[in-house]
């Protein structure tokens, strides 16, 4: 029964990783662009949540809305003002600019918030759990997060496949050069894509803040988890991303069960294994 518990924990953790991955995957899908600072933006959202709720004492619901709003605005403007200027055939400038952003964000957060590790408490929810027959117990918080992750992914699905904007984003993903010939403003569409991705990053960051301790240097490993979930799931597939997150989550939790120092390594190794045996990922829809 212990292993069933472990499995459930892994699956629930996978929901969070799928959220980490969704924003990265969305930006790559629409713009063929990988944001190296992705993990640092997740941590930035976590610090915003901490500032609004813990420091300024706002109601959590207000805090969540504010974080999503601020991150979305940063995403739109950042894409429009900075990133659109370096996107092109040459992959070096976008990698370098976001790598530079990553270093700036980490050190900036260090200056503002210090290197201390923080956490946003969610009160009784932190320790509540649901008991199931057969000695199984599911933490209320991980379950809630998994449900939120499913909700966000479902929302993205509706956006992509049932709205005019989603149609435009999919068309951009197929053939960005053609989109202006359909009357679409590429700079604006790219910025909207980053805005949506940043909204997802905001939710991911809020969940990170409530789930675990974080510090200014927590970003890179979140980037790596997001990246691994994307590759495991297969490029361009929203639900593949969820599968990728779950595979990674289960690998990590099982690894931790074997040896506490083995948690992250187990996730990386499963990722490399899948890269070797199935480089296109589990549910590929797109070529890199």
């Amino acid at each position: 029964m212990e292993w069933v518990n472990v499995l459930i924990q892994g699956v629930l953790l996978g929901g969070l990783y799928a959220l980490f991955a969704a924003g990265l995957s969305l930006m790559f899908g629409v713009m063929r662009f990988v944001n190296i600072a992705h993990g640092d933006f997740i941590v930035l959202a976590a610090y915003l949540m901490l500032s609004f709720v813990t420091f300024m004492g706002w109601h959590p619901a207000l805090g969540i809305m504010a974080v999503v709003l601020v991150m979305g605005t940063i995403g739109y403007l950042g894409q429009r003002i900075l990133l659109n200027r370096v996107l092109g055939k040459d992959i070096l400038p976008p990698i370098l600019v976001t790598f530079g952003l990553s270093i700036i964000l980490q050190n900036g957060m260090m200056e503002v918030f210090s290197a201390d590790s923080r956490r946003v408490s969610s009160g009784a929810l932190d320790v509540a759990s649901i008991s199931l027959p057969g000695d199984l117990a599911i933490g209320a918080m991980p379950l809630l997060m998994f449900v939120v992750a499913l909700g966000v992914l479902a929302g993205l699905h509706v956006l992509f496949f049932h709205t005019a904007l989603g149609r435009l984003l999919r068309a951009t993903s197929d053939d960005a050069e053609m989109v202006p010939l359909m009357g679409g403003n590429k700079a604006h569409i790219f910025a909207l894509a980053t805005m949506i991705a940043s909204g997802v990053v905001a939710v991911a960051g809020i969940m990170l803040a409530m789930k675990t301790n974080f510090d200014p240097s927590a970003g890179p490993s979140r980037l790596l988890f997001a990246f691994e979930a994307v590759i495991i799931g297969g490029l361009g597939s929203l639900w593949g991303t969820l599968a990728g997150g779950v595979v990674l989550g289960v690998a990590q939790v099982v690894g931790a069960q074997i040896d506490a120092g083995f948690q992250i390594l187990a996730g990386h190794l499963v990722f490399l294994l899948i890269l070797v045996v199935r480089p296109q990922g589990l549910f590929a829809r797109m070529k890199g």
């Binding site: 662009f33 990698i95 600019v97 952003l101 790596l224 490399l272």
Partner: protein, 331 residues
């Protein structure tokens, strides 16, 4: 088949500049203080790392943010060989590099399954795997690392001054050697291959396969020489820990910023970058995180203004090229 023509007016100036610099650096143990000597060693090691990253990213387009994998692996293999194999230190260093090169074959094979920016992040994952595995080796101190035992250090030379001199000349060899090797490579048939990579990336199938092979070999070669430099860096530090050995900030961020700010895709760029980096650092010693923030902002600025960096700006102001890499075919 080929000659490198030297224009009469400019060549002597740059040749003299290069010659004077080399003599000046070669004589450093006889004029520099111990602090200056240590700084020069560090700068020469950074120059070697920067030239290797530049060879990889600037000439073959493989952007890695995981070169710390090879710095750390070189360091750890060197420590393991020095402590357990009984090999003399000066042999253990190249052997560690060679072993790293061998390991780079399977590792590269995996990394090459990813392209573009995903290759970059993939190399980072690999470096993390190396770091986490290194932390599992209790014989090498596990997560808290290990120091090189005194008797092993003393086998290099018994007096501190003599050790400094040996280490300095290793650093000198690494720094100057990296420049010479890249220069020779660009003037050989490899240089032509790099031009082909730049001009016709998705070219015909047969060229495509050859390009892939060239890129792979460059990846392996830079891994080995980065590991050689890594081995030296931890010989100089005398202590290795997983976090220091596989630090993304130290061995990727700094190196990448050096190359990009100095000028990617040129031999002069990394040299200029190292000079700028160490000059800025001497001013910014107490800036803390602001130093890194400044470097990051500079790198972003370079990408927005001129992707070729400071060297390109200097060149357009009439500074002569130091290292001619153009090949001329005799008619």
């Amino acid at each position: 088949m080929t000659t490198a023509p030297l224009t009469r007016r400019k060549a002597p100036v740059s040749l003299i500049a290069i010659f004077v610099t080399i003599v000046f650096l070669a004589a450093a143990p006889f004029w520099a203080s111990r602090g200056t000597l240590n700084m020069l060693m560090e700068a020469l090691a950074f120059l070697a790392l920067a030239q290797m990253w530049n060879l990889l990213a600037g000439y073959t387009g493989l952007i890695s943010v995981g070169q710390q994998a090879w710095v750390g692996l070189g360091g750890y293999l060197f420590f393991a060989l020095a402590m357990f194999s009984g090999l003399p230190l000066l042999i253990a260093l190249p052997v560690a590099a060679l072993l790293s090169g061998l390991i780079a074959f399977p590792i590269g094979w995996i990394a090459f399954r990813l392209q573009g920016a995903y290759f970059a992040i993939g190399t980072w994952v690999i470096a993390e795997v190396f770091r986490l595995i290194a932390a599992q080796f209790s014989a090498l101190g596990g997560g808290s690392g290990i120091s090189l035992p005194i008797d092993v250090v003393k086998s290099l030379a018994t007096s501190r001054g003599a050790r400094d001199m040996v280490m300095y000349y290793i650093a000198f060899g690494l720094g100057i050697g990296s420049v010479v090797i890249v220069w020779l490579m660009l003037r050989s048939k490899w240089g032509l291959a790099f031009t082909a990579i730049r001009d016709s990336e998705p070219a015909s199938e047969s060229i495509g396969i050859r390009i892939r092979r060239v890129k792979f070999m460059v990846y392996v070669a830079t891994a080995a020489s980065t590991a050689l430099t890594g081995g030296f860096i931890f010989l100089q530090k005398l202590r290795i820990t997983p976090d220091a050995a596989f630090s993304v900030n130290e061995w990727s961020a700094f190196i990448i910023f050096i190359v990009v700010i100095g000028g990617i895709g040129s031999i002069e760029g990394p040299i200029l970058g190292v000079i700028l980096f160490f000059t800025l650092r001497s001013f910014a010693a107490d800036w803390g995180s602001w130093y890194l923030i400044t470097l990051g902002a500079l790198a972003i600025g370079v990408m927005l203004v001129d992707r070729q960096g400071m060297w390109s700006i200097l060149k357009s102001r009439g500074v002569p090229v130091l290292f001619k890499t153009t090949r001329w075919f005799e008619p």
